[in-house]
């Protein structure tokens, strides 16, 4: 009996230790999910008490959001509740699972979600799957109130439009800037690059001199996750002036420009933070904010994180420039719309009027400013937000201008219904090129062939 008690207490101890370990480890990011840990306290200012009765008192909706946007969506839910009396339940899922969750919710008939967050390249698939309510009429009715023309033009249509109809509201205007550590670049005598060749040389110079001290010229996110790997590749693809399709809609992914872009990426790998093939958000972010990495291409909210004393050692020591350009006649500094999210309404929404009301609230210009002045994982979708004083003060005027410039004219990923499959094929082949199991030419030829098959061309 005594033995049993002791064994039981040991088992209990082991179980407690295991649970503690798992609890501690839970926030650590899987490679698949963009988990940018924001440790700064979120200050949500309360709206003054309304004097009129709240119009949606006692009603509620469920909003499906991704983990990196949980803070922002919860803040919006709180403000909406204060204004309308309606309760908004925020349901958070990992980024990688948001599309399947939305589709399964509708196909199973569960109808758990009223409002759904959409990774915009999945828009066509969600429309084809019958998941989203057609918002064309709603947009027509609210065009002036929501100041549609104030949305950044490069994102307004890709985020919302499929086959001439509008299905969503822009929510998170994501694009990349090239962030650099000013101190490191000065120390090793290099300037922020304007071309990908300069970038490679700058990265090489810093890495060759600093490697023994754990310093690397650049961090390249090459982990085999579509949103990570393709963002990295498409940054170069755009720099070289390549595109996915020609004017007739035929794939051109193995064009000389595209092959040169992939070759450039492969050539940069030896000088990057090891090993780029396993570097995802956390590794790149950690390397940059701890001052070990000279340059990183990242979403614009890295500026806020780099100035956060709780997670950064490079406060005030960083800068950001537009993405470098490639070589050749079509070369241009043309950023890509990497990531980027919208909000839509589920066809099975239990409370559609309230869901529309929530979208109307989120779409308001003043709310766009307000939600982008907390560290909540969002970036502006409106031109006016970039110019709004509270936002400029929050992120620094330099970053606000750089982000605005990057978003205007940014290149959108395809949004057709076949894109999920095409994207996976491209990810697979770019990963093979990075691993050295295919040449860039071979990888993109294989992609082209498969894309033609998928599109039935």
């Amino acid at each position: 009996m005594k033995l049993n008690n002791r064994t039981l207490s040991m088992l209990g101890g082991a179980l407690a230790a295991a649970l503690t370990l798992s609890a501690c480890a839970a926030p650590v990011a899987p490679g698949a999910v963009r988990q940018v840990e924001v440790t700064r306290e979120v200050v949500v200012t309360a709206t003054p008490e309304a004097t009129t009765p709240k119009p949606f008192e006692g009603q509620s909706i469920n909003v499906l959001t991704i983990q990196p946007h949980a803070v922002a969506t919860r803040a919006l839910a709180k403000w909406f509740e204060e204004e309308t009396g309606a309760r908004v339940q925020v349901l958070v899922v990992p980024y990688a699972n948001v599309t399947e969750k939305a589709i399964l919710d509708v196909t199973s008939g569960a109808g758990e979600y009223d409002v759904i967050e959409i990774w915009y390249p999945m828009l066509g698939k969600l429309v084809e799957s019958g998941v989203l309510e057609d918002l064309t009429q709603w947009w027509e009715e609210n065009k002036e109130a929501l100041q549609f023309d104030d949305f950044v033009p490069s994102i307004a249509d890709p985020y919302t439009l499929i086959d001439g109809k509008r299905w969503a509201l822009p929510y998170d205007g994501d694009t990349h800037l090239l962030f650099y550590n000013r101190e490191l670049l000065d120390k090793y005598g290099v300037k922020p690059p304007t071309t990908w060749a300069e970038y490679r040389e700058a990265c090489k110079t810093i890495t060759e001199q600093g490697k023994s001290e754990g310093i690397y010229g650049c961090a390249i996110m090459g982990a085999k996750v579509p949103i990570i790997l393709l963002s990295t590749f498409i940054n170069r693809l755009q720099g070289y002036g390549a595109s996915f399709f020609d004017a007739d809609g035929k794939p051109t992914i193995n064009s000389p420009e595209a092959v040169a872009a992939l070759q450039e990426l492969v050539d940069q790998l030896p000088y990057a933070l090891p090993d780029p093939k396993a570097v995802a958000f956390d590794e790149a972010l950690g390397g940059f904010t701890t001052g070990k990495v000279g340059m990183v291409e990242f979403w614009t909210d890295l500026g806020q994180m780099s100035d956060n004393p709780e997670q950064s050692k490079i406060i005030g020591k960083w800068g950001a420039v537009p993405m470098p350009k490639g070589e050749g006649p079509n070369a241009a500094s043309r950023p890509a719309l990497n990531a980027g999210f919208a909000l839509g309404i589920s066809t099975l929404a239990q409370n559609k009027p309230l869901a529309y009301e929530f979208l109307k609230f989120v779409g308001r210009p003043d709310i766009n400013v307000r939600v982008n002045t907390i560290v909540g994982g969002l970036d502006p979708t409106r031109k006016s937000t970039f110019d709004a004083e509270p936002y400029r003060k929050h992120v620094t005027p330099e970053l606000a201008d750089a982000a605005k410039a990057a978003l205007s004219g940014a290149f959108a990923w395809p949004t057709n219904a076949k894109w999920p499959e095409m994207q996976d094929v491209l990810t697979e082949n770019v990963a093979e090129a990075l691993a050295g199991t295919k040449t860039p030419q071979q990888a993109l030829d294989d992609t082209q062939a498969k894309w033609l098959e998928i599109l039935g061309k």
């Binding site: 082991a14 370990l21 699972n97 399947e100 509708v106 084809e128 590794e283 996976d424």
Partner: protein
């Protein structure tokens, strides 16, 4: 007498019924659903869209990525099963005695396999980190490595690194079951062998190992089935990369089903994996029966 018999039959029905119903609902129904789905051009949002008969199966047979993922699954499953069985059984032999330290070791041994795989993968991701990971730190310090290595970024090494985590996680399971096997061995053969002058090694080779063989085969079958289904570690550690060097079958099927949304094709691949696994288990079970007949009680 007749009433009693009917009453008895009714009791049996009540007792067995729930189990049979559970089996039908949770095992047979999904299997039949998957088989039906595999014969259609289904998408996640549109199941049973168009009947395509065996097209998904012929596509799978031509799919180089699926073929590669099956090969990787075999390498992974047989590799970790063999190593876990050898180490687990070895540890069981060493700690097969009642004492404070061995009881503590046994309790400690439970830790890895009662910890959630997601937490394990997250911890090992930190351990493998090429910049600040513990493993690189100690290997460089010991002079085994000249410089830090990206364990999850080099094709050949990435697979070995994922396998190491599996081995760390599941060897204690094999160890505990091996202890149970050892505890069930009769004493008489050892007493007879001692009388005949057999030394420890001879007793191990001629008594312990043959008598443990059936039990070890059962443990190996259990681990093999588990390892063939590996998904969580790959998802968390490598996402199938670098290249496709760790893209095992379950992960590839997941990608096809939930990233490409081709559920019909994913179902066909699932059925192929089930068939392969069933053949494998049948062969191993036959081996177990032979071992049991030869060495069992």
């Amino acid at each position: 007498m007749h009433t009693l018999h009917r009453q008895h039959r009714r009791e049996i029905l009540w007792m067995v019924g729930p189990a049979v119903l559970t089996l039908i609902v949770f095992s047979l129904y999904p299997l039949i659903y998957s088989i039906a789905l595999s014969a259609t051009d289904s998408q996640l949002a549109r199941p049973f869209r168009e009947f395509v008969a065996f097209k998904n199966y012929t596509d799978a047979a031509r799919d180089a990525l699926f073929g590669n993922s099956l090969v990787l699954t075999f390498i992974y499953a047989f590799g970790v099963t063999a190593i876990e069985t050898i180490i687990g059984f070895g540890l069981a032999l060493l700690l097969n005695r009642e004492s404070g330290p061995t009881r503590f070791a046994r309790t400690l041994g439970l830790l890895p396999f009662i910890t959630p795989p997601v937490a394990i993968a997250a911890i090992w991701r930190l351990i493998y980190d090429p910049s600040s990971g513990m493993l690189n730190h100690y290997l460089v310090r010991a002079g085994i490595l000249e410089q830090n290595v990206a364990f999850l970024g080099i094709p050949g090494l990435a697979m070995a690194s994922v396998m190491l985590v599996d081995i760390w996680q599941w060897t204690p399971f094999v160890f505990l079951l091996s202890l149970a096997v050892l505890a069930s061995l009769p004493h008489e053969p050892y007493e007879a062998a001692a009388v005949d002058g057999a030394n420890g090694w001879q007793q191990f080779i001629h008594i312990t190992l043959p008598m443990c063989l059936p039990g070890l085969l059962v443990i190996a079958i259990l681990r093999l089935i588990g390892a063939m289904k590996v998904f969580d570690l790959v998802f968390m550690l490598t996402f199938g990369g670098p290249g496709s060097s760790t893209q095992v079958a379950s992960f590839y099927i997941y990608k096809v089903a939930f990233q490409q949304f081709k559920t019909g094709y994913a179902s066909a691949m699932t059925i192929i994996v089930i068939i392969v696994l069933s053949v494998l288990v049948t062969l191993l079970t036959a081996l177990y029966r032979r071992a049991q007949a030869k060495y069992g009680p």
